[in-house]
Symmetry: C2
């Protein structure tokens, strides 16, 4: 099953919802117009559709292999990654002084979506490299930046993030990897890291590992973690490759999905110590890692959108082709394509509405990130930064949880064929399952949302977003279509209820996070899901109004937008009320906390 | 990870909720007392825990294999099936005159749960054999019964159901397999059947295929389908095995899950015709097939309970052992077992509450089936039969959809380890995915619920169940605990709202199923899910009252029951409202139907 980049959908979200033209007014983004965006996306689509997408199934059937420490990527991946790099796609959002294109995150986001829709396993390699580049740019010395970043942007080298250890998954305070200073400014690293995505492979001549480790005198816990750059091959002063470093892949995991992406166990220092350089200052590693994690978390959210769209495309194609059963309304005497059956349409509508809502939310978030970086006014920057930071855990958590539902519906649309691996729907279902886990589980995102993003400012940023939802509700109700359009009325009714539910959940969190932290945390994932549903619903409400206003420019396209918003209103938004009840259900050890540890 | 049959939970559901002692008052079920049940379940637990459960992971890693038409089951399966058969477990609910034990369905249900929790892939073989036995008992001549049923009950032979063809999945009107009469009372069968579970294997000396096919003069569509028994080896008059029949396995599928269960493509008649005998009358095949399908559908619902319980057990064990992060309430300075973290408790509570609710609903349904068969009063029988028939699509549809959520949460509890196949959680996630598909997808169940079970009687049976929910609500509110118990209050509040939502959905279906069948069908799955959530909630409300009343007999057990009901009330029941909105969302081509076929 091929992948077709949904360019019109992407451009609508990019232009009409996320407002790319306002970014073009910012210093340094002068070229980032809607026209540039269209050209970039069309170019990206060609590469991802033609080169990366067809390899997706190969990667599943013939995963990366490990032998004697050497990992060989699926046949074709090396060449595809070369084409990706040569096209300049790795450097899209990175600074031009290191070889990047300096484009806004808003423009790189649809490209990341395409990459991951085409090939989630392959897409992880650039995704992690992006994170490593960001960390080096944030905290590295100019020497380190010059040594590593240009080669990573050019795709000659790739990057990895080494956080997890066997005893330290989500809890980095337990990190034990040691870094011993050598007196010459370098360190020797000793330890084991697990779950290292693309931690070893043969696609490039070098791999740049960013590694969390402790120096000898470091304090305990997360305040004693430093960040090191540990290349697979040492890099000489002239930039040429030197000796093989003492960082070796001892195995790769046998996983449920994303099988082409090698998940490595890396052993540092078994043969004398892996040579590493400190990035930034000692003991500030976690802070730097958060920079790359925030970028990676956002990108993983986009992976959720991406795999959902791919699953949706395949399900639609199958539903249009598969003939089975007569229509329930008696409109034909012969079996019809299953897309005509109401429940199949319900499933496809739900898949589509969720995917579009999540895409819109991600793209709008990206534009806040761009405004936070480049707006000339400091207070405006801070405002956009706060909104972006509120949205990141939601984009990550909700879009990925949503992708479980969408890929599962994708299997269901196929009936029995969906369970057969050759069909391909099952691969999306398996691949998606990692998304709510890696780069911080949904619970980790939800804790972040509750603690740093809601409690700390007493719900102020959440309040700003609620005010924007109110504005959208006014626009829906004041629209000339309102009186005669079931879509407008349904959206107004269900988004209003959702808005109240979100407000109530925010108040609950603000009022209880300190006095009853267990209750706030027990409700945190439901709060995150509720926020995702309502905020994506807000975007689809905006989309509804815009589509009605611009309908005559392209009636078919905009009518479908209106119908999708309608579907979202009745099929998805009502869940907000149920989630709000669940958020409030755990106070005083009730509901979700009613069972004590020993009662399980 | 080992499996431990939850005997106390099962006996509570069997005795307190489903009332096994009232069955012992029925003719023929005199032995079916709570004490018998306990003895049977303890015996079953030993076999399933010790013999079948350890093979579950083997079956996933070393699936059944096909070579030159011969299918070899995973090592150990043949011996395990022999022990299962020798223990008499295949015959539990079948008539003693053919070698069965004549026990009520209520008693066989927990045994089926154990079998499938222990080993879903292996469990499918007896499940399909049960269906074949039922069909033969219902429609077969005495000669056919005597020839086949005793050997199937003894486990010497197994049975299969051959419905699906490449062009005929859910839509049996498209069946093309031909049956040509030979003049001697036998037929020659020609055609291809796909998705035949345990359609070929080496565990027994013979396999009894029940095959849907058309005789030469049969009318078109489903009214021209007849049922044939087509053994792998012909059976001589004396019961000994004769020639190999012309029914051959040409391949088995490569599937997402239940890999040890061979899913066969069977070719009938490529070498002159497969010899078959007509079962019952010509052209009544679909009716007979529904007998076995109804039995199988109920059993698949129990599979949903089973795999949920197994996933729950594994997740609890991991959460108690895995140490990570300090508690959010500051109650410890060191990392603690993750079961102490609120979100992990939320996930485990949800898994547990859903599993218990679905178990209770299945067991109560089984007792209605028994009462429908054995109650001396005809009107009472008819009443119980109607309730059972209403519940079957819900037990099948809801329990299996629920198992997707539970097994997914099971992966999530494990974090990154959940995505690694060696952990085992991923197997349940993959295995469960077939449950809402086979034996009729959830949409097929929902159509049945809407059409035959709700519209046809104008919601009368649904009304009887609503009245029982009302009685339970009265019991909750009138209970001495009500004033002081948050669990009682939460249950009353959320079950009341759920009851209203279910009532509203039933009215919507009754009022619209004829005038707007597309709307009724677009909302049908949401109606089914709503019914499942509310009816299981009703059982947990009953469980809450019973547990409070009997608390002193076993405080630890009953307190956990109360807490589980509390969790269900706040975490699960509120979804009913969202589902009700979705049910009503598709009227006049709105909501779920807003997107037309050409707009996807």
């Amino acid at each position: 099953m091929s992948y077709v980049a949904p360019l019109k959908e992407m451009l609508f979200a990019l232009t009409d919802l996320a407002g790319i033209d306002q970014l073009a007014a910012l210093p340094g983004y002068e070229d980032a117009t809607a026209n540039t965006a269209r050209a970039v996306l069309e170019e990206a689509a060609r590469l991802h559709e033609d080169v990366l997408a067809p390899l997706n199934v190969d990667g599943d059937r013939s995963p990366s292999t490990w032998k004697d420490g050497v990992v060989t990527a699926t046949a074709g991946f090396k060449d595809a990654f070369r084409q990706f790099s040569e096209g300049g796609w790795q450097g899209l959002q990175h600074p031009s002084e290191y070889g990047g294109q300096d484009l806004p995150k808003l423009l790189s986001t649809p490209c990341i979506e395409m990459l991951n829709a085409a090939n989630l396993s392959l897409g992880l390699c650039p995704l992690l490299t992006d994170g490593a580049i960001e960390a080096l740019l944030t905290a590295g010395s100019e020497e380190l930046k010059q040594r590593y970043v240009p080669k990573m942007i050019s795709g000659e080298w790739t990057g990895t993030m080494n956080l997890t250890e066997p005893q330290a998954g989500s809890d980095l305070s337990l990190v034990r990897t040691r870094a011993e200073p050598q007196g010459d400014g370098s360190y020797r690293i000793f330890g084991t890291k697990i779950f290292i995505t693309w931690g070893e492979h043969d696609m490039t001549e070098n791999i740049v590992h960013l590694v969390l480790a402790r120096t000898p005198a470091a304090p305990e816990g997360v305040k004693g973690i430093s960040l090191f750059v540990v290349p697979k091959f040492l890099v000489n002063k002239d930039g040429s490759l030197g000796e093989r470093n003492d960082a070796h892949c001892v195995s790769i995991e046998h996983k449920l999905g994303i099988k082409a992406s090698p998940t490595a166990v890396l052993q540092f220092g078994d043969h004398g110590g892996a040579i590493g350089q400190l990035v930034g200052e000692e003991n500030r590693g976690l802070e730097y890692m958060f920079v790359m994690m925030n970028a990676a978390r956002f990108a993983v959210g986009v992976q959720g959108v991406a795999i959902s769209d791919r699953a949706y495309q395949q399900a639609v194609a199958y539903a249009k082709e598969r003939v089975q059963s007569r229509p329930v309304d008696g409109s034909a005497k012969q079996p019809v394509a299953i897309i005509q059956h109401p429940d199949v349409r319900r499933m496809l509508s739900t898949m589509r509405a969720l995917t579009e809502g999540a895409r819109a939310l991600a793209y709008v978030s990206a534009s806040h990130c761009d405004l936070a970086h480049r707006h000339p006014d400091g207070a405006t920057r801070a405002n956009h930064q706060a909104i972006y930071e509120y949205l990141v855990p939601i984009v990550k958590g909700w879009s990925t949880e949503m992708s479980l539902e969408v890929t599962s519906l994708g299997v269901q649309v196929h009936g029995g064929m969906g369970f057969i691996e050759e069909t391909g729907a099952a691969q999306y279902y398996r691949d998606a399952r990692i998304l709510p886990i890696y780069e911080g589980t949904t619970a980790i995102q939800a804790n972040d949302l509750v603690g740093r993003k809601t409690m700390r400012d007493n719900g102020e940023v959440a309040g700003m977003l609620l005010a924007q939802i109110d504005a959208a509700l006014v626009a829906v109700q004041a629209h000339p279509s309102y009186g005669s359009s079931a879509a407008f009325q349904a959206m107004h009714r269900h988004l209003s209820a959702g808005r109240e539910a979100l407000y109530s959940a925010v108040r609950f969190v603000v009022e209880n996070a300190k006095s009853d932290p267990n209750a706030a945390c027990a409700g945190s994932v439901c709060y995150l899901m509720l926020a995702g549903i309502v905020l994506a619903g807000w975007q689809l409400a905006r989309s509804l109004v815009l589509a009605a206003d611009k309908r005559d420019e392209d009636p078919a396209f905009h009518d479908a937008k209106i119908a999708t918003a309608h579907s979202y209103a009745t099929q998805v938004l009502p869940r907000a009320i149920a989630l709000e009840a669940a958020v409030r259900g755990a106070r005083d050890g009730e509901g979700a906390l009613a069972l004590r540890e020993d009662q399980f």
